[in-house]
């Protein structure tokens, strides 16, 4: 908001739809979430709302919702009640969506937003409720028709609604990123943004800085990446500032974001109370949720990212941003912890994981991409590099090889002849040879042209076929050059 009039403050709330990764749908026993399916392959009689069919709740979806609620310290409803939300749209087979309205399964909770510098901010979760997804309408497949695919119809969704506690586009994007990470951490969903497994709408209004009033909010639809969310909000703030600064008023409306132009445009005015004719679904009598069930779910919760993050800072003395990045994904955090314990070098472990390991996983789409190296392998590798048996570059090569094969670390080192040469005499001999061959450059070196050292080191490395320990090489060179200098000085005084 740097160029924008700093007298305005943005008030942002998010509504995030998370597709749950249960095997079957929310109310039918059809396979859920197979994106490679042919049209309507996974749409059974219940999903297509055939006459006479009835919904039966999938227990796993309810458990997922309670797990999320527990993670954000939300209140869990003691009765699970479903209501019908009515509207006509061709991809909504029943003419209503089974959702939760008066009693969301998760009530008010808190989400601790982390910043890379270790600061935190509490974002209130207003509620999270279960509902079924609609089918897909495809408008550009046939010229004058819309075609419908109901494979997605009935996929369980958890709709998470925040209070308007976010203040900047960056905060909103970070919230979505961390929520996304939590969803995957808890195993609730694939989180695949490209496939719509997490979909985000944002409500945004502006108010004068320091004022607690609420301005008129616009709803921005379908901001399905961290970047789109941030950019759309940024654009919207600028737009609203322009409107308000001109003394005009912001219209209450729903807007869509065009990632190509980077702008938002009005879709329709937002009605204050849309008539959905909610009423309790008579096909789904309320399900009581026993204290025992909630207690069981609580006791089966994994350690949460925020807890792990704090522990990493405390126990391993990691920098806040390292702890943050290591705890965005559970496998990463687990690899770090196990490796750090084995090699007893948390900082080196963090560097390797956030550097090389992360680089190796990049380019692959999904964040849940498997990590193809064990803590034992990584810790051995770090130890070898630390004790100088392995050069950093060879270490990187080795990691790649370990990633791609099932071979043992020592085995690879042996067959690839990767072990680093740390024999000081051998290195000293090579250094002497390089100095002799480049005698004319010594004065320059002595005159303080430090950059020339790199050239000398490179020469020694090439003599050693890349296996000499570079630190020992530099040391040997420096020692020899220093000796030369002393020798020369002595001569001058003669």
């Amino acid at each position: 908001m740097s160029e924008i009039d700093a007298s305005w403050e943005a008030v942002i709330g998010l509504e995030v739809h998370v597709q749950l990764n249960t095997r079957t749908k929310l109310f039918s026993r059809t396979l859920n979430g197979d994106v490679s399916a042919t049209p309507n392959q996974y749409a059974n009689l219940v999903d297509l709302a055939y006459p006479g069919t009835l919904p039966v709740l999938n227990q796993a979806a309810l458990t997922h919702a309670i797990r999320f609620g527990t993670a954000v310290d939300g209140s869990i409803a003691r009765v699970c009640l479903f209501e019908r939300k009515h509207y006509f749209y061709p991809d909504l087979p029943k003419g209503y969506q089974i959702s939760q309205y008066s009693q969301p399964i998760v009530g008010s909770g808190l989400f601790t937003l982390w910043f890379e510098d270790g600061q935190t901010k509490a974002i209130r979760i207003r509620q999270a409720h279960l509902e079924e997804d609609a089918g897909k309408s495809i408008h550009d497949w046939l010229p004058n028709s819309t075609v419908l695919d109901f494979n997605r119809a009935g996929t369980p969704l958890l709709e998470i609604v925040t209070e308007p506690d976010l203040r900047t586009p960056l905060e909103a994007a970070m919230f979505l990123r961390q929520l996304h990470a939590l969803v995957i951490w808890l195993g609730l969903g694939s989180g695949n943004l490209n496939e719509g497994a997490i979909r985000c709408d944002a409500n945004i209004s502006l108010r004068p800085q320091g004022n607690n009033s609420h301005g008129t909010a616009c709803e921005l639809k379908n901001l399905n990446s961290f970047k789109f969310l941030k950019n759309a909000l940024q654009y919207e703030i600028e737009r609203q500032v322009t409107v308000l600064s001109a003394g005009a008023t912001v219209q209450r409306e729903t807007r869509s974001y065009d990632p190509v132009s980077g702008s938002t445009r009005s879709m329709r005015p937002k009605e204050k109370h849309k008539e959905y004719r909610y009423f309790p679904d008579p096909d789904l009598p309320p399900i009581p949720i026993a204290e025992r069930t909630i207690a069981q779910i609580k006791s089966s919760m994994p350690e949460l990212p925020a807890t792990v993050r704090n522990r990493f800072v405390r126990d391993f003395d990691l920098a806040a941003d390292h702890a943050y990045r290591l705890t965005l994904e559970k496998p990463l955090a687990e690899l770090f912890e196990a490796t750090a314990k084995l090699c007893k070098d948390p900082q080196a472990t963090a560097n390797w994981i956030l550097g090389e390991v992360t680089a190796l996983r990049k380019g692959k789409q999904s964040l849940t991409q498997d990590i193809a190296i064990s803590a034992r392998q990584l810790s051995q590798l770090i130890e070898r590099v630390t004790d100088g048996t392995l050069s950093v570059n060879n270490g990187k090569d080795l990691l790649r090889k370990l990633w791609e094969t099932d071979l043992d670390l020592d085995q690879i080192m042996k067959t690839q002849d990767m072990a680093q040469i740390s024999d000081r005499d051998q290195i000293s001999n090579w250094a002497k040879r390089v100095i002799e061959e480049n005698e004319e450059l010594i004065p320059k070196l002595l005159a303080g042209e430090e950059k020339l050292y790199e050239y000398f080191i490179g020469q020694v490395m090439s003599l050693s076929q890349g296996k000499a320990n570079p630190q020992l090489v530099r040391h040997a060179l420096e020692t020899l050059v220093l000796a030369e200098y002393k020798h020369n000085s002595a001569k001058n005084y003669d």
Binding site: T24, P39, N58, A60, N144, S145, V147, L148, D149, M267
Partner: protein
């Protein structure tokens, strides 16, 4: 619906509303609405897929399909 049809139905509806409006005379403070006649609702199922052969569901002539999709007149996106 034709206008005549609408008129008859509206007249009927008015009669019906007049009849049912008597419920508003009954005091019901403190009474919980009864949504279901019986106190069950413990039923939920495990997350096991059902393996049933895919039925040929597009049986009637009036249902329009194309390559597995259901087809409707173009929906103009709002």
């Amino acid at each position: 619906m034709s206008d005549a049809e609408k008129e008859t139905i509206c007249a009927d509806l008015e009669l019906i509303l007049e009849y049912v409006d008597q419920i508003h005379t009954v005091p019901t403070d403190g009474i919980d609405p009864l949504v279901h006649p019986i106190d069950i609702g413990h039923l939920r199922t495990s997350d096991e897929p059902e393996t049933s052969a895919h039925e040929n569901l597009n049986q009637t002539e009036s249902v329009k399909t194309a390559e597995g999709f259901y087809v409707v007149p173009k929906v103009i996106e709002p």
